[in-house]
């Protein structure tokens, strides 16, 4: 998969917008993109599992994984199946960020934002791939739709499932993605996520309302959707500067 870098996303992760006019920063962005393309070892995995609800907990069948918490229950409401996905840019990116932290903090900041853009782009592509698989495999009778990506640590879904989540996918062995004992994903530029498969009828209750507006302001909707699911559980929600500016931090906890 070829990773692309959307300028608007890079600016977003730099806590900036199109008004940013600075020749030097522009140069750093271009340099970073070139370097990231060289260093990137984008690897990913996903697998579909049946899901059952029992005693207010979601059991991912065929695995040891049990998903607990109100937020994930709400997110996967009506889903009979779930995709678990894991993706990483590989450790060379982390190393280069650490390198630039010693050489130039500005460069490390820009490089980090470009790398975040890359992993998010990669995840979007994986989601598209899953969507295609779903529509080509499903019987025509029932239209199915995917929920958005939901990661361990969002809402009240405990981040401590991280390691087990990775084991289920054999991610340490297959793509070199691990979690530390503090549940930090390593390599750091990585994502784990849960995507529910819901019938269109089900999803219309939650998503359709937004869909008509999506044409006009998809970013805003995404933010609202995210806030509804995540920021309300965030420790910082009350005093978050980014939120006031209409930016979501991208932090997974």
């Amino acid at each position: 998969m070829e990773i692309q870098f959307k300028r608007s996303d890079i600016l977003h992760y730099l806590q900036a917008d199109e008004k940013l006019k600075d020749a030097n920063i522009e140069r750093l962005i271009l340099e970073s993109i070139t370097e990231i393309k060289e260093l990137i070892r984008f690897r990913y995995l996903y697998q579909k599992f049946p899901l059952v609800l029992k005693d207010n907990k979601l059991k991912v069948l065929g695995t040891t994984l049990i998903l607990k918490g109100n937020s994930i229950l709400k997110h996967l409401a009506g889903a009979a199946e779930v995709y678990l996905m894991a993706a990483t840019l590989g450790p060379l990116i982390d190393k280069k960020i650490a390198y630039y932290e010693k050489i130039s903090v500005t460069k490390s900041l820009v490089f980090d934002a470009c790398a975040t853009t890359a992993i998010e782009y990669g995840c979007d592509q994986i989601e598209k791939e899953i969507k295609q698989n779903l529509s080509s495999n499903s019987d025509q009778k029932e239209e199915k739709q995917l929920t958005f990506r939901y990661s361990p640590g969002y809402g009240d879904l405990d981040i401590s499932i991280q390691s087990e989540f990775l084991q289920v996918l054999k991610a340490p062995k297959k793509i070199g993605l691990t979690a530390s004992k503090y549940n930090i994903l390593l390599p750091a530029k990585s994502v784990t996520a849960i995507i529910g498969v819901v019938s269109t009828e089900q999803s219309s209750k939650t998503v359709n309302n937004n869909q008509s507006k999506r044409k006009f302001d998809s970013k805003k909707i995404a933010l609202q959707q995210f806030e509804a699911q995540n920021c309300q559980h965030c420790l910082l929600a009350g005093e978050c500067d980014l939120r006031k500016r209409g930016i979501y931090c991208g932090l997974k906890s």
Partner: protein, 798 residues
């Protein structure tokens, strides 16, 4: 089976997959397969039996992931699952083929080691040691370390086995199609490191099918005399109806193995997706066959996991990491900060150093501790191999233990005592070593005398089992002003050593010009002369561009840079750079005249220059108060108004830092008192590897005149307390980015409060709030860099 007698002589057949088979029989994804050693004992024995029946001569006990880290919440200990695993395999052997051997299987631990992750090398070693001891006690016949992607982890495992048993060690890493591990490790580095540590056989397993691994195995076969192992997957898996399936047939699997057998492959088995059918076919074709002989090209290399330097060419060793005469560097080493060291290292690499010499000898520091931390820090950001420069044998031994790769030891000499103290560690860790042509009687005046010492060093090293390829001889540069005739003797000795002893050579170059004018002219000429005598590793300052150019020129004239292609490429790039820098618009130049404007625009070099100019008229403090601080205030204001954005704010802060560096250098020259407003220790807490936020705060604090002692990331309470006490700071800044590491922040605060109650603590980071800061007993909450400056002003008044 007599393993030692058979290994490398006759093909040895391993078994196939365990995990895939267990999953087919209903093991849940995410579950611990080793539990079945006790819970479904008969099932495991059955699988072993089926492989023995198929013809496997070594069976792999079901102990791959049975380490204390992975078993933490399972209610089982590593020892009990390993004992059961070995016993199950032994029982199967008893029933089917008593001649077969049982291997203790050690897989990856499941967490990344430092510096990529947070698991310490010693922790990894202990985890493997615990497994090894249980396996040895249960009667394992050998150890197979497998599916490792990080060479550092493989080192920990090999050392744990080697230091605690006499069991034969087989070690296989897992590579991707491009010939790299997930962590960027190369085949050459793997071979060099494992061979250096003295494993009995090495090779590849997992990741891909045998066809895709064939070229990589071919590469290994050419590089090592050791028996080579391949245990490939049954091709790439595909998911069908939610199940992982392997599509390749045993016959297809066999074909590349037959080709590799012809090339000299010695040990064959299977990994994920292979079944007894695969092993049966392999055994039918190759069991009892003689291992084919092959050609090996022996080479002299040093390496990090991802970067290999072939010593046969000319490679520059950067000499700048040496605290002698560098006050700031000394100060930082005493405080436990590595900024100066890392920046110096990075600059040397950018300038073209292929290897970095690491000398940290200071009378009043713990050289060993500082050496180990420096190695870890350097390897966390750079790939160049290191040269461990110390006169303390215990520092050298420790450095070699923790260095990930093949390092150079600088140095031994002809004294028997010195060699006796240093060479065992060189051998144990597979390092390369520099031999100085001097001994207890000093430096021989003649080339012949030095040649004799070089010969003695090579012979003594051979007694320790150190091969000639690992030896680099330094014929010692003498000073032209004091021993003029000696300069030629050095060059003569160099040529003799090179031609007659067939080892690599090194020289510290700049000593030649000591005490004479225009030193660089003499250095350059001496360098060129030495290169023509066969110098491989000039130890120089790579920032000296003219020296670097001399090396490039000599490579052309010496017929080493074929077709002068590297030379031409470099010169073209230089011309292009020159052309680009001439295209700067003229308008900018006028604007740059003003330091404030330069800071606001984030023009680093210009602001450094302008600061230098201003210093001719004003004193440092005036420049700080009338130029730097006002410019920062403007930048801060614009940021608050949303006119500029975070990267620009940080860029301006770095620009001010560049100006400060100029001021500090000037003050140091004048011997005037420091303009520092006080010291602050900063660290990102244990477990946390996100460091950018803290670095921004640090830069801004430095802008306002505070001296920041930066301890880096993933810093434990003990180190933080130590730094606070040693530098007697009144303010400590801690950062944590994850909810899961805030606990460690709380612990660090408690530890500092107890050890240094007078030190105030400010905390910050994405997950913190004022309330939370109070809850964990911090004195201040710094929501951003500017807030941190306010706190510093309060705690450390002017």
């Amino acid at each position: 089976m007599d393993l030692k007698a058979k290994l490398g002589q006759q093909i040895i057949i391993f078994d196939g997959a365990m995990g895939t088979v267990l999953q087919q029989r209903g093991l849940k994804a995410g579950d611990i397969p080793e539990k079945l050693n006790l819970e479904e004992k008969n099932e495991i024995i059955d699988i072993h039996k089926s492989y023995l029946k198929a013809g496997a001569e070594i069976i792999t006990a079901n102990t791959f992931g049975a380490n204390s880290l992975k078993l933490a919440d399972t209610g089982y200990t590593a020892a009990e699952l390993i004992t059961a695993g070995i016993k199950n395999a032994q029982q199967a052997r008893e029933e089917i083929n008593r001649d077969a051997l049982v291997a203790l299987d050690l897989g990856p631990l499941g967490e990344l080691l430092e510096p990529m992750g947070s698991l310490k090398f010693d922790e990894a070693y202990q985890l493997y040691k615990e497994q090894l001891i249980a396996g040895k006690k249960a009667g394992a016949d050998l150890v197979i370390i497998e599916t490792i992607a990080d060479l550092y982890e493989a080192r920990a495992a090999v050392l744990a086995v080697k230091e605690n048993s006499d069991l034969p060690i087989f070690c296989t890493l897992t590579f991707e199609e491009d010939g790299r591990t997930f962590t960027g490790g190369s085949i050459e580095a793997m071979v060099a490191v494992l061979e250096g540590l003295g494993v009995d056989a090495l090779g590849l397993n997992c990741s891909l099918g045998p066809t895709k691994l064939e070229p990589l195995v071919t590469k290994i076969l050419r590089q090592t005399e050791l028996p080579v192992i391949l245990q490939a997957n049954a091709g790439l898996p595909v998911v069908e109806a939610g199940q992982t399936v392997f599509k390749i047939t045993p016959t297809e699997y066999l074909q590349p193995l037959l080709r590799l057998y012809q090339q000299g492959l010695a040990v064959i088995g299977g990994c994920c997706g292979t079944t007894p059918e695969f092993i049966k076919l392999i055994a039918a074709e190759m069991k009892q066959q003689k291992v084919k002989t092959r050609q090996i090209t022996s080479r002299s290399i040093v390496c990090s996991p991802s970067q290999v330097v072939n010593l046969a060419g000319v490679n520059v060793v950067g000499e700048r990491i040496n605290p002698t005469g560098k006050e700031q560097f000394k100060q930082e080493l005493r405080n436990g900060s590595f900024d100066y060291l890392l920046t110096t290292a990075a600059v040397q690499v950018e300038a073209g150093a292929a290897i970095l010499d690491l000398n940290l000898g200071l009378p009043d520091i713990d050289e060993k501790a500082v050496m180990l931390k420096s190695i870890l820090e350097l390897q966390s950001i750079l790939d160049v191999p290191l040269q461990i420069d110390s006169s303390q044998p215990e520092v050298i031994a420790a450095a070699l233990r923790y260095y990930n790769g093949i390092a150079i030891v600088n140095s031994v000499n002809g004294e028997a005592e010195v060699m006796q103290a240093v060479l065992p560690a060189v051998k144990k860790y597979g390092a390369a070593v520099i031999g100085l042509t001097m001994d207890e009687n000093g430096i021989p005046a003649t080339a012949e005398g030095r040649f004799a010492i070089a010969k003695r060093i090579i012979e003594t090293a051979a007694e320790y089992g150190i091969k000639r390829e690992k030896i680099i001889i330094d014929c010692l540069t003498l000073t032209a002003s004091a021993q003029q005739a000696g300069v030629k003797e050095t060059l003569k000795a160099l040529k003799m050593v090179k031609n007659d002893l067939g080892v690599k050579t090194t020289l510290g170059v700049s000593n030649v010009s000591f005490g004479l004018p225009e030193r660089s002219l003499l250095n350059r000429n001496f360098l060129t002369m030495a290169l023509f005598q066969g110098l491989n590793l000039p130890i120089i300052d790579p920032n000296d561009q003219e020296m670097m150019l001399n090396i490039k020129a000599a490579a052309v004239l010496n017929n080493q840079d074929q077709g002068a292609s590297k030379y031409i490429e470099f010169m073209t790039a230089q011309q292009n750079k020159q052309a680009n820098s001439n295209q700067q618009p003229a308008k900018l130049e006028i604007e740059q005249q003003n330091l404030k404007t330069a800071i606001i625009k984030g023009l680093k070099q210009q602001s450094a220059n302008l600061t230098g100019d201003l210093l001719k008229q004003y004193d440092a403090l005036t420049i700080v108060n009338q130029y730097l601080i006002p410019a920062l205030d403007i930048v801060g204001e614009r940021y608050d108004q949303g006119k500029i954005f975070l990267p620009q704010l940080v860029q301006s802060a770095e620009t001010v830092k560049a100006a400060f560096t100029v001021l500090k250098t000037q003050l140091a020259k004048q011997g005037t008192a420091d303009i520092s407003k006080g010291k602050i220790v900063m660290a990102t807490v244990k477990g946390d590897v996100h460091d950018i936020g803290k670095n921004i705060v640090k830069t801004v604090l430095e802008n306002y005149g505070y001296q920041v002692i930066d301890l880096g990331r993933n810093v434990g309470s003990t180190e933080i307390v130590k730094a606070v006490l040693e530098s007697k700071v009144k303010l400590l800044g801690l950062s944590a980015l994850m909810t899961t590491t805030v606990k460690n922040m709380e612990q660090a605060i408690a530890a500092v409060k107890q050890a240094a109650p007078e030190c105030k603590i400010m905390v910050g980071g994405a997950v913190l709030t004022a309330d939370y800061a109070e809850l964990i007993a911090a004195d201040f909450y710094a929501r951003d860099a500017r807030a941190a400056v306010e706190i510093a002003r309060q705690v450390l008044p002017d």
